[in-house]
């Protein structure tokens, strides 16, 4: 790396790496890889989105109209897997690739080749998931949680899904090792751990979570694989196994996974809100501690996803108390963001709008989370649309809105050009309105007793389902505005200054031009 770099004084010329498609296949540059992660994530977001629209179209009214129940199950399963592993997680790894080296004053990630490999594992994994639709029996239709023993009944599509999960897990682990090493070893002189931007802290914590739990999930699906083909009975009571064991293993991965998605989102918001409040982040140290507490607590609450499996009462009580406890550090974070805005000098450009949208809707998701934490109430809500509403509030309005905030926030830095502010605002308001139209009514459906993952329903649920379906189409179509805006920015955006936002004060804004040179910080900056 350094040998090549030394012979070149300037690297904004593109002569020293292959052009065309080979540039992208062989690149070890964190900016190129970040870009690829983000475009990959957006395409998967579209694929998963189309699946969501298939689901919502079928549910527009009672009866079976456009799909059969088998295909419906395949859609809910793939929608979940693709959105979680294909869209949201890679989006934040994309942010990490672009931002972490620039934010800590490093020239690149610690392991550039490994970085290339982490990305290029994703397209084959995603292809396996999509191809599984076309094998005999279709894709896995067991829900994104892939509960055994239903998974044992599935056709070869299930095996493709298992391999896809293995590959996705590998990619995440390698990416995380890279992020941890970069953050611990490559900070510019003077940048102590407690001076790192909040986004870096959240990713450091997330990366540890990933390394800890992805192997657990890989183990669970491998056990499913051997149960399917090699005569083991891990999840079959007739052979001495236990179907509930799968759920314990899955959620031991699955609950931290929720925070793997949420914590980098917290990081993005923690950069955006101070920038547009023109005020430093309130309670930086307590934010770091709160994030770490959430991460640690996330390992000991997994069974709150399984209140109806018939656990011993004492276990239910423990998981209920532990779950309620998570509200405390999460509350601290929300209060910190509010205190950051308090007495600031606020402006409301698109990134800030999305960050406030995040704050509002994520808190709503937190409220329904509190309701669900109470086991007695959860028994009523479990596996109903209430849960669907809850996790879309934290995943879509939480993670996705924060990713949007990040894209609009850093787009001027990445491209050197300014996006269309008016379009951005329209994108925000349409997303905000249609998101709530889609998901708020699902709370009512759940309370009234509509189970999730059903292709057809009792006519008493018709009205809210119609509203929800209309909202889903509005929400889906609104996202094309983002695509249009990004392309427009790249093609014909106005030139953005180095410090595109008045209140942005991290290294990429203060020390680098927009767009940054292909190799930035060859000489580390000094941080006071």
């Amino acid at each position: 790396m350094s040998a090549v770099a030394d012979t070149h004084a300037h690297h904004d010329d593109h002569g020293h790496h292959p052009a065309g498609i080979m540039r992208w296949i062989t690149t070890t540059n964190h900016k190129d890889i970040g870009t690829m992660y983000l475009w990959f994530s957006f395409s998967m977001f579209m694929v998963g989105g189309v699946m969501a629209l298939v689901i919502r179209t079928e549910l527009f009214q009672p009866g079976l109209q456009i799909v059969n129940p088998d295909f419906f199950n395949q859609m809910t399963t793939l929608h979940g897997l693709i959105m979680v592993f294909g869209a949201i997680m890679p989006a934040f790894v994309g942010f990490a690739n672009w931002q972490i080296p620039m934010m800590i004053g490093a020239p690149d990630m610690a392991f550039p080749r490994l970085n290339n490999w982490s990305f290029w594992l994703l397209p084959p994994a995603a292809s396996l998931l999509v191809i599984s639709l076309f094998v005999p029996g279709g894709a896995a239709g067991a829900g994104w949680t892939l509960y055994a023993p239903l998974t044992v009944q599935m056709g070869p599509g299930m095996d493709l899904t298992i391999f896809a999960v293995h590959i996705l897990g590998m990619s995440s682990i390698l990416g995380s090792i890279n992020i941890i090493t970069t953050l611990l070893n490559m900070r510019a002189p003077g940048m102590t751990m407690m001076k790192m931007p909040m986004f870096c802290w959240t990713w450091l914590i997330t990366a540890y979570l990933l390394v800890a739990v992805m192997p657990v999930f890989a183990g669970a699906v491998t056990m499913t694989l051997t149960d399917r083909h090699f005569g083991t009975t891990f999840f079959n009571a007739a052979g001495g196994g236990d179907p509930v064991l799968y759920q314990h293993i899955f959620w031991f991965f699955g609950h931290p996974e929720v925070y793997i998605i949420a914590i980098p989102a917290f990081g993005v918001v923690s950069q955006v809100i101070p920038a547009f409040s023109r005020k430093p982040l309130f309670g930086y140290a307590s934010m770091v501690y709160a994030t770490a507490s959430i991460a640690i607590l996330s390992f000991i609450v997994w069974a709150h996803h399984m209140y109806t499996v018939g656990m011993p009462l004492v276990a239910q009580l423990y998981f209920m108390y532990a779950t309620m406890l998570i509200a405390v550090p999460t509350g601290v974070k929300v209060f910190n963001w509010l205190a950051t805005m308090w007495k600031g000098s606020l402006t409301f450009e698109t990134p800030m709008l999305f960050a406030i949208g995040f704050l509002f809707l994520f808190t709503m998701g937190g409220f329904s989370g509190l309701v669900l934490a109470l086991t007695a109430v959860d028994v009523q809500m479990h596996d109903t649309y209430y849960v669907v509403a809850h996790f879309h509030y934290v995943m879509v309005a939480g993670a996705l809105f924060s990713a949007f905030a990040g894209v609009y926030f850093w787009l001027p830095k990445w491209t050197g050009k300014m996006y269309d502010e008016r379009l951005g605002k329209i994108h925000f308001w349409l997303s905000m309105i249609f998101f709530n139209v889609t998901f708020f009514v699902q709370h009512f459906l759940g309370i009234a007793g509509m189970p999730r993952r059903i292709p057809d329903y009792s006519p008493v649920f018709t009205e809210f389902n119609m509203i929800s379906s209309i909202g889903a189409f509005g929400f889906g179509l609104s996202q094309l505005l983002l695509l249009y805006n990004v392309i427009k920015t790249i093609r014909s955006g106005e030139k953005a200054p180095a410090r595109a936002w008045e209140g942005a004060d991290t290294l990429e804004w203060t020390h680098l031009p927009s767009p940054p040179p292909y190799h930035s910080f060859e000489t580390p900056p000094t941080v006071r």
Partner: protein, 377 residues
């Protein structure tokens, strides 16, 4: 009235919403509770909503005030504070206290939900792809058992006939229980995980193959309570309802008597020799109730997922193979063991039907109940 408005709803989105609103049920709260526990859970939820409302107003009051008053466009200058130990301690301690206060009712209610002690009647519910089997195993009615299948016709599901009032939430057999008695339900499954869920009775318990879990309810009013499977269990997960009928003690006793008589009457002579036509006619009904969901009415199955019976080797092959699959199921597939679900005569009938239906012309084209009993041993 409702139906015409449903027809309208296809016409257009605005029309749909308007028409929907005209006939709308907009059920947005818990179903009317049928047990004290369900009422308590509903009240606990209401209490939570009150607490949440207070937090909502406080938190977003601060946020929107800040958005309103601390804007740059009204000339607000940013102050640069970024720490305040007092506030930080306060907003850690206060939520903790609120949570401790909430934990108390949460705990007592959970104890009530989980209390399955001292039941009057114990019923075992078995989740089977895609129906529920019931065995009354203790208390009045002991020995009654039946399978509850969805009765909504396919035509209604595919929109070829108007939908009935209890569309998708109706079964041929109801779980009849007496009012005011504590009913303990042992829940298990035969194939994959299901969940026995009746919202108005506040019961939801996963049905786990190979394990028995329990739940309980004491209905405080008569009526029919409808629910459905709540854990994804494959293709027809949305089509296996649970219908509980709560009746007075007198009616319950009468129902038990009726069921006992039916059981006695249904005990057919397994040595009877049936005619081909009789068995085919009976077999067609058995097929329609048990096989059609996967293998389809035309016997073609669903390619890739469920094998065709029309022209299949097994259907046209030796009798023993056919019987073995139906009685014992096929491991690793959705083909379940029907040996204990159906009577020997029903199994003989359905085998006979399959052997002769569609283009099938099996040489071994008739099975007698005695053949089934021989395999079942």
């Amino acid at each position: 009235m409702k139906r015409t408005s449903r027809a309208l709803s296809c016409a257009g989105l605005i029309g749909a919403l308007y028409a929907g609103a005209a006939a709308a049920e907009f059920q947005w709260n818990f179903q009317t509770p049928g047990t004290k526990v369900a009422q308590d859970v509903s009240d606990l939820h209401l209490l939570m909503m009150a607490i949440i409302l207070v937090i909502f107003v406080a938190v977003f009051g601060v946020m929107f005030y800040s958005i309103y008053a601390h804007r740059k466009s009204v000339g607000h200058k940013a102050s640069q504070f970024h720490e305040n130990t007092t506030v930080e301690v306060l907003w850690t301690v206060v939520p903790t206290l609120i949570l401790i206060v909430m934990a108390w009712p949460a705990t007592t209610h959970l104890l009530a939900v989980r209390d399955t002690s001292q039941p009057d009647i114990t019923i075992k519910a078995t989740g089977i792809q895609w129906k529920w089997g019931y065995d009354y195993i203790k208390g009045e009615g002991e020995g009654i058992n039946f399978v509850a299948n969805l009765t909504t016709p396919q035509d209604q599901i595919y929109g070829k006939a108007p939908r009935g009032e209890h569309y998708l939430l109706e079964t041929d057999n109801h779980v009849v229980v007496p009012v005011g008695k504590k009913i303990r339900v042992l829940v298990t499954a035969a194939d994959v995980i299901h969940a026995w869920y009746v919202p108005a009775l506040a019961v939801k318990q996963d049905a786990i193959p190979g394990f028995i879990r329990d739940t309980a309810f004491r209905a405080n009013k008569e009526g029919i309570f409808r629910g459905q499977c709540a854990e994804l269990c494959g293709k027809d997960h949305g089509f296996m309802p649970v219908v509980v009928e709560v009746v007075s003690q007198e009616k319950y006793t009468a129902w038990v008597g009726e069921q006992k008589k039916k059981i006695a009457a249904a005990a057919e002579d397994p040595n009877k020799k049936w005619e081909l036509a009789e068995l085919r006619a009976r077999g067609e009904k058995v097929y329609a109730a048990n096989c059609v969901a996967c293998h389809q009415a035309n016997g073609k199955g669903v390619p890739g997922a469920f094998p065709a019976l029309d022209g299949s080797k097994v259907a046209n092959g030796p009798l023993a193979d056919k019987l073995a699959i139906i009685v014992s199921g096929k491991a690793g597939t959705a083909m379940q063991a029907f040996g204990k679900q159906l009577s020997a005569t029903d199994i003989a009938a359905v085998v006979t039907y399959i052997s002769n239906a569609w283009s099938n012309k099996a040489t071994a084209n008739i099975a007698q109940p005695a053949d089934v009993l021989a395999v079942r041993k």
